[in-house]
């Protein structure tokens, strides 16, 4: 009887420990799943054609051109590039003529096009033969049989076009433009601006709260900072939209107040609690003996703070700042609401910009599932994931080194 009781007890203990172990490993499993899903969806983009699904780009059969980048295709069809020389090809006539399906009646009597469009391949071939400088964007179906033009093999979207592209027009025809530079730049500008504003204020409050404030003041300050951290980001965004955006518009006399600066200010307010809490903890961890030694040597309180407390806790402060940057880079809603979301490379903070999270939030709803646009947004998600992972590992390294130093 007693033995059985022991066995049962042991069984429950083992079961409990197993349950705990499983729960403990859940976070690791989630991270692995996130990586798996994000990257598998995102990598699909690099298996997609440069031009829209189901279409081809065709030229005259004597045209020596072999390859075009998405940027070049866009410029050609937007009539920004007008001669073949600019594309590095020697074509008689040199002038580029663009042909879309709608343009066919300009070259060929409309009545002679068959009802079921069965003779379109010959028609397109003939038009291409007649015009040596022509480039055509036509459905793939019309180039399968009896087609004499040269179909350009443009290949898939590659890393270089994605990470080096300067234009983000995910729905552009005939070639989607997935250049992340403007979006990455926008993210960096806004976050940098935010941290420049938040750093002095955050440090000031942390020093004040850790070194100067009386117990009573500290008791009031702490819940206030906690509350600041608890307010939903969408409320900050709303506040920014109705207060800060008009304020910036009036102050700088701009056409629109939705600018990078508005984003930076809102993000700075949101990053403050992170910086304050961590920096304050770091400042408080300075051994009392060190501070007292400094005071005993005749330094006053301010000198002690500058020469002893801050240098001692600098790694903790750095960790707080880096985490604050991480929070600013990943913040979605507030930025989406106040920065104006223009996907152009910003030159000043007084222009509308767009960040990585805001792009995902704004466009994912409209991107058809499984399409190139959808997958491009997942690649943006991957970039964001990698950035925050790096930031977090940096912080962990800093605190690890710090621990060793103290030991």
């Amino acid at each position: 009887m007693k033995k059985m009781f022991r066995g049962k007890k042991y069984f429950i203990e083992a079961l409990w420990e197993g349950l705990l172990k499983i729960s403990g490993s859940v976070t690791s499993i989630i991270i692995i799943l996130i990586v798996l899903f994000l990257f598998s969806e995102g990598m699909g983009l690099f298996k997609k054609n440069v031009i829209e699904e189901g279409y081809v780009i065709a030229v005259n059969k004597n045209n020596p051109i072999k390859d075009l980048t998405p940027q070049q295709i866009k410029d050609v069809f937007d009539v920004k590039i007008e001669t073949w020389k600019e594309l590095g090809a020697d074509v008689s006539g040199n002038q580029i003529v663009v042909l879309r399906l709608d343009d066919i009646p300009n070259y060929f009597p409309e009545e002679e096009i068959a009802e079921d469009m069965s003779n379109l391949p010959q028609i397109i071939s003939q038009i291409l033969d007649d015009n040596p400088g022509m480039i055509a964007f036509v459905p793939k179906d019309f180039t399968q049989t009896n087609f004499t033009g040269k179909i350009l093999d443009l290949g898939n979207i590659n890393f270089k076009d994605f990470f080096g592209g300067k234009e983000w027009f995910p729905t552009a025809q005939p070639a989607h433009q997935f250049g992340v530079i403007p979006i990455v730049m926008g993210t960096l500008w806004v976050s940098l601006g935010a941290i420049l504003i938040a750093l002095p204020f955050g440090l000031a409050v942390a020093i004040y709260s850790a070194e100067l404030a009386s117990k009573a003041v500290h008791k009031v300050l702490k819940p206030i900072i906690e509350l600041l951290a608890g307010i939903p980001s969408v409320v900050y965004g709303f506040f920014g939209l109705v207060v800060i955006v008009p304020l910036i518009q009036k102050t700088f006399n701009l056409d629109v107040g939705e600018t990078g600066l508005a984003g930076s200010i809102v993000l700075a307010i949101m990053a403050l609690p992170t910086i304050i809490t961590i920096a304050e903890d770091a400042l408080r961890s300075t051994p009392r003996a060190m501070k007292e030694a400094s005071l005993a040597l005749g330094a006053n309180k301010w000198q002690t703070i500058v020469k002893v407390t801050i240098p001692y806790s600098i790694s903790g402060i750095t960790a707080g700042v880096v985490l604050g940057i991480g929070r600013a880079i990943g913040e979605t809603m507030a930025v989406l609401m106040v920065t104006g979301n223009a996907a152009v490379i910003p030159h000043t903070l007084l222009e509308p910009v767009r960040t990585i999270p805001a792009t995902i939030a704004a466009e994912l709803g409209e991107a058809p599932k499984g399409g190139a646009h959808y997958e491009a947004l997942f690649v943006l998600g991957c970039i964001l994931f990698v950035i925050t992972l790096l930031i977090n590992l940096t912080v962990e390294y800093i605190s690890y080194r710090n621990k060793n130093k103290v030991a």
Partner: protein
């Protein structure tokens, strides 16, 4: 003498600057709170809280959004609380100091710092598409639950860390097993801190927008959900919609203030509850 004077002036001016900057930060918070509370309070009425939105969301109330947020928050907590608390217990009471535990800790920290929009992408890919839940309460709750998990784990761990080791040793010395020690001695003592942490995490989850944008919420849905596979409206998303892309942004401004007011009140009340609980329990421990 001159040096001493300069030293004094330096300190005084530095302290003044610190004080002024701190006041600016506090004033900023009161400005935000005051602005929204004052403007929102005029909109709040019983009808606003219990009626459906009307006239392209420019009139009426926000009842379905309140219920939606409630559903999503409760759902995420059902998922995150048990797993998070168990995980916290494992990390603090059972796990040793090996590389595996260090890895799990790093992973938990990393999960906590992943931007919420990435959770949204992941939730959409896994719960909505792969598992086929569609945009639904369950998909949104699970996504929010993932977001809350690291917070719950950290809270539990911190609470357990504060329990002095002598209590555990005392219990073990009396012949209790490890399980009995954890359940009967450690957990009851850590309970107040765990609860306050959980309350604060509810506040964080209820205000999140990005994770539910593509997993649970509807733009406009003037009815209540009937099962966990239904779409819902939610307060934070509702505020986003009516303040940026509604049918008539100017006309729905009043509704936006009201919604922001409700969102802030949720956080404020949860914070007050957490603080009150903390005080209540700490008094109780002292009298014992």
């Amino acid at each position: 003498m001159d040096y001493l004077k300069r030293k004094k002036i330096n300190q005084a001016s530095a302290f003044w600057i610190l004080k002024i900057m701190s006041v600016v930060v506090v004033a900023m918070l009161f400005w935000i709170l005051g602005f929204i509370l004052v403007n929102g309070f005029q909109v709040i009425s019983w009808d606003f809280l219990t009626k459906m939105p009307e006239d392209g969301m420019t009139k009426g109330g926000i009842y379905p959004a309140i219920i939606g947020t409630l559903c999503l928050t409760v759902g995420s907590m059902i998922f995150a609380f048990p797993i998070g608390v168990l995980s916290g217990i494992y990390l603090n009471e059972y796990a040793g100091k090996g590389w595996l535990v260090r890895l799990i800790r790093t992973m938990t920290n990393n999960l906590g710092s992943i931007p919420s929009i990435v959770f949204g992408l992941f939730g959409m890919s896994l719960f909505v598409n792969t598992m086929g839940f569609g945009d639904s309460i369950i998909a949104g709750s699970l996504t929010l639950g993932l977001l809350a998990l690291p917070v719950v784990i950290r809270t539990t761990e911190e609470a357990l860390k504060q329990i002095d080791n002598s209590y555990r040793l005392g219990s073990l010395a009396l012949g209790a097993t490890k399980l009995q020690t954890v359940v009967k001695v450690v957990l009851p003592m850590a309970f107040p801190n765990i609860i306050t942490g959980l309350i604060l995490s509810i506040g964080r989850v209820s205000g999140e927008t990005a994770p539910i944008m593509f997993t649970a919420v509807a733009y406009f849905l003037p009815m209540l959900p009937s099962s966990i596979f239904d779409q819902v409206m939610a307060l934070p998303y509702h505020l986003y919609v009516i303040s940026t892309s509604g049918t008539d942004i100017e006309a729905s401004r009043a509704m936006a203030y009201g919604t922001a007011f409700v969102l802030i009140m949720i956080v404020l009340i949860l914070n007050l509850c957490a603080n009150a609980l903390r005080r209540y329990f700490s008094n109780k421990v002292k009298t014992n």
